[in-house]
Homo-oligomer: 135 residues x 2
Amino acid sequence: MQGFFRSYLSVYRPLIQALNQLLQPHELSYSLWQVMLYAQEHAHASLVEISQYYGIEKPGVTRRVQRLEELGYLSCVPGNDRREKSVALTEQGQRVYSECRVKITALEQGVTAGIDVRALEQTAAVFRQLLGNLK
Amino acid sequence: MQGFFRSYLSVYRPLIQALNQLLQPHELSYSLWQVMLYAQEHAHASLVEISQYYGIEKPGVTRRVQRLEELGYLSCVPGNDRREKSVALTEQGQRVYSECRVKITALEQGVTAGIDVRALEQTAAVFRQLLGNLK
DNA sequence: TCATATAGTTGCTCTGGTTAACTGTTAATC
DNA sequence: GATTAACAGTTAACCAGAGCAACTATATGA
């Protein structure tokens, strides 16, 4: 399957641009969105947890969280451990999350329009396997 | 197909890191590799052509080409049009291209190991459709 | 208690992308 | 033929996002 990576990567830039454009009205980018997504799904998330989940370094997470706090979308409380921060979406963050969730799902539907659902599910399965092989 | 983008994007970072690591010994990154790839496949490529093909702005292409010239992998000759530059791989560039080609193909095989070839081809077809829908 | 590990932060650097403004060349229009 | 518009490429300034190294503060455990 020569050229598979190339084929994969050709989609990246247009996709991320579409997502960032969609998020821009909320002063978000996809990298910030990822943190909100994680916070939404995991109560009491710590920064290290997020860092490991997305495979980025801690300073990157610190800065994303700082930005989201400035925007009023995220708040931090101390965790059990006094070293640890526990992040959570604020009420405003929840609202913004919901709005973006709707928009992203709509974009997803638009971009995958005309593609067989089975093919999409198989593609998602391929992603999981690729990810497994990459580690 | 909720979460399809997320699934797609989860592969990006590990993949690009693996590719960049593979290319690093040749002082290349994937973004530079793209230009070599295009030059290999299209004789007398112009910078605008490359810019349009990869969907990046002209200044980005200028800098990639400059870097590849410094490395001695690419050379520019004036095109028909005296405004235009025509880029081509040097002999050294050809050698490096071949070496990297082999390595990338091997990585591709490793990373797609255990995945049904039909599934891969269908995935590639999905990428084409996504790309079409994104424009 | 003292050494070590862990969570998070700060500062600096690098890559790679963008826009805007510019030069030089070609094409089109009058 | 002269002027205007379009085009190829470059430069400069900027921005986003990631990485590493060094740091603080807290926790663990020998």
